[in-house]
């Protein structure tokens, strides 16, 4: 039986995992951008004192994913 240590020390395995992470992050980044746009629409429909907070959280969420993609490319 192949040990986990042997499996994860294989550069090809790590490359596949890196590719999987990048694809997942790219797909999620699209979703996070949709969240940003939808929050803009929601806050336009119903304006409250929390509108700036929701917009800020949506942008932080989106840029966090983008930052993570960059980290994935740099670190992995």
């Amino acid at each position: 039986m192949l040990s986990l240590t042997t499996l994860f020390s294989n550069p090809q395995t790590l490359l596949v995992i890196k590719g999987t992470f990048l694809i997942a992050e790219a797909i999620y980044a699209i979703f996070a951008y949709i969240v940003v746009r939808q929050v803009a629409l929601m806050t336009l429909t119903l304006q409250t004192e929390f509108t700036p907070l929701f917009k800020l959280l949506a942008y932080i969420h989106f840029y966090a994913v983008l930052g993570l993609m960059l980290l994935t490319l740099l670190l992995l």
Partner: protein, 190 residues
């Protein structure tokens, strides 16, 4: 602040909706009862604790350390997991927060966000409201005192539903009094 977590806010401050008239006053903002959020709240708790649970399961199965995977991979994987968990919590909360039922001194408004990307906006003038009924069905609704208020309007048999709102009897009574007052003023001015 109450607007952030409450399903029943009377005379809310700092709230306006699209299409609101300048002389219009919002009297009541309603949402689905907080208990209806239990599923996604528990889901969020589960998601945030999943790495801890996974580590415990692995330990039970003899995997005591994750050192076989490089630290950078573990960091990226964990960060992505928590970002996705936050995304789930955030979108679920937003759907609940923005799916509102508004009662103003001129109309009733039903703003629905189905899923996350589908929006519907229905309104009925107080003058067009013909019939009001409320329903409380099921043990959960009885225990937590929430239900549905059906607002029948004139014209094309359109109905607006205030689904799973707190104190449905009081909401019905509130709208009924408002409608009566509206018709009374109209008769006086006629």
């Amino acid at each position: 602040m109450k607007l952030l977590y409450s399903s029943y806010v009377k005379d809310p401050v700092g709230v306006c909706f699209t299409g609101e008239d300048s002389d219009e006053k919002i009297l009541l903002v309603l949402r689905k009862h907080v208990i209806t959020n239990l599923r996604w709240i528990l889901g969020t708790i589960l998601l945030f604790n999943a790495p801890v649970i996974a580590a415990a399961v692995l330990r039970v199965n003899g995997v005591t350390s994750l050192d076989f995977m490089p630290l950078t991979f573990r960091f990226i994987g964990l960060t992505l997991w928590y970002i996705i968990s936050f995304g789930y919590f955030f979108t679920s909360f937003l759907i609940w927060f923005f799916s509102t039922y508004i009662v103003s001194d001129k109309r009733v408004v039903d703003i629905d966000f189905h899923g996350f990307i589908h929006r519907s906006f229905s309104e009925a003038l107080l003058s067009n409201i013909e019939d009001l009924t409320h329903r409380v069905s099921g043990a959960t609704q009885v225990i937590f005192h929430f239900g549905t208020v059906d607002i029948q309007t004139a014209g094309e048999s359109r109905e607006i539903e205030f689904e799973k709102v707190p104190n449905p009897a009081h909401v019905q009574d509130f709208i009924s009094d408002l409608t009566a007052k509206f018709h009374h003023h109209r008769r006086e001015n006629a």
